[in-house]
């Protein structure tokens, strides 16, 4: 399966990165990691790319890492459609201090607009 993982650097996106790479190593998916804009990210784009390379190395997985400019939700949906991806994977939401799950606007846009399957990783 051809999987497009979108990450912006929030904690839940890093969790998604780890889990999707582990899954890819298991089942041999064709993975592309798209690093998208997130003004509220605690990590820089270069840090995220470096982290991604490390995770891929440790898991022994080969994947393209791509920097994606512009609105994250619409860019992910557009790339997935144009390039024939089967699934878009995203972080499954931030957790509030008391433990409430909050799904962000990127995930919402992708859920409502993607013609592929969408996986939110918890």
């Amino acid at each position: 399966m051809k999987v497009l993982l979108g990450i912006g650097g929030s904690d839940d996106s890093i969790r998604a990165l780890e889990q999707v790479i582990a899954r890819t190593a298991e089942v041999g998916d064709d993975l592309t990691v798209a690093i998208v804009e997130n003004p509220r990210s605690p990590r820089s784009r270069e840090e995220i790319a470096e982290r991604t390379r490390e995770e891929l190395d440790v898991a022994g997985v080969d994947a393209e890492i791509r920097q994606v400019e512009g609105d994250p939700g619409s860019e992910l949906v557009d790339v997935a459609e144009r390039e024939g991806f089967d699934e878009i994977a995203l972080g499954g939401g931030q957790t509030s201090p008391m433990g409430k799950i909050n799904v962000g606007s990127i995930a919402e846009f992708v859920l409502l607009n993607a013609h592929t399957s969408v996986k939110l990783v918890r």
């Binding site: 509030s96 201090p97 008391m98 433990g99 409430k100 799950i101 909050n102 962000g104 606007s105 919402e108």
Partner: protein
């Protein structure tokens, strides 16, 4: 996530303080009291959540699995949090919790749960107002929450109490209220 980037400019004050006794719309006598830190009261709260209808869960809480429920109660009943319970006799039928992001100087996140058998009787409004009164006494000035935006009843209730929407860009509305710091009041 850390709550709103900005809070309403206007302060809201005049909320009542616990303990209070109110009569709900069904004529039941409901006591609103601050959690006393005892195991007995914690067990009464846990019993309410064990009886909770999964359909009334919000954004993953309360957790269903017993071990997760205990872990969640550990977090929200911690010393830096503020908790007010609504009692009908010996049973807890409602609960408001205020949980800080990072220490008592930071903004507090609010959540409310009312047992299905006691919903729609005005307990939620009384419980939130009383907890905000308690929080103001304790020096809290910034309170925020998120609510699923299709939950119009809840959004209307929060607005009536004085919360304003601070972020409406995703599934959950983010709302906030600014309280008067009652500890600095010179009366």
């Amino acid at each position: 996530m850390t709550g709103p980037e900005r809070y309403p400019d206007d302060h809201t004050d005049g909320f009542p303080s616990p303990p209070r006794t109110v009569e709900d719309a069904e004529g039941r006598t409901i006591e609103l009291r601050v959690y006393d830190g005892s195991d007995a009261e914690r067990e009464a709260l846990q019993a309410m959540y064990e009886a909770f209808d999964p359909a009334d869960r919000a954004q993953g809480i309360p957790p269903s699995r017993p071990s997760k429920l205990r872990g969640w109660l550990d977090r929200i009943l911690d010393d830096d949090c503020f908790n007010v319970f609504a009692w009908d006799g010996d049973g807890v039928v409602g609960h408001v919790t205020l949980v800080p992001e990072n220490g008592t100087e930071s903004p507090y996140e609010l959540a409310i749960f009312v047992l299905q058998s006691h919903q729609g009787a005005g307990i939620g409004t009384a419980l939130i107002e009383t907890t905000l009164g308690y929080g103001a006494e304790q020096g809290i000035t910034q309170v925020w929450l998120t609510v699923e935006r299709w939950n119009r009843a809840a959004v209307g209730l929060y607005e009536k109490i004085g919360f304003e929407t601070t972020d409406a860009e995703s599934f959950e509305l983010e709302m906030a209220i600014r309280l008067d710091d009652q500890t600095e009041s010179t009366g």
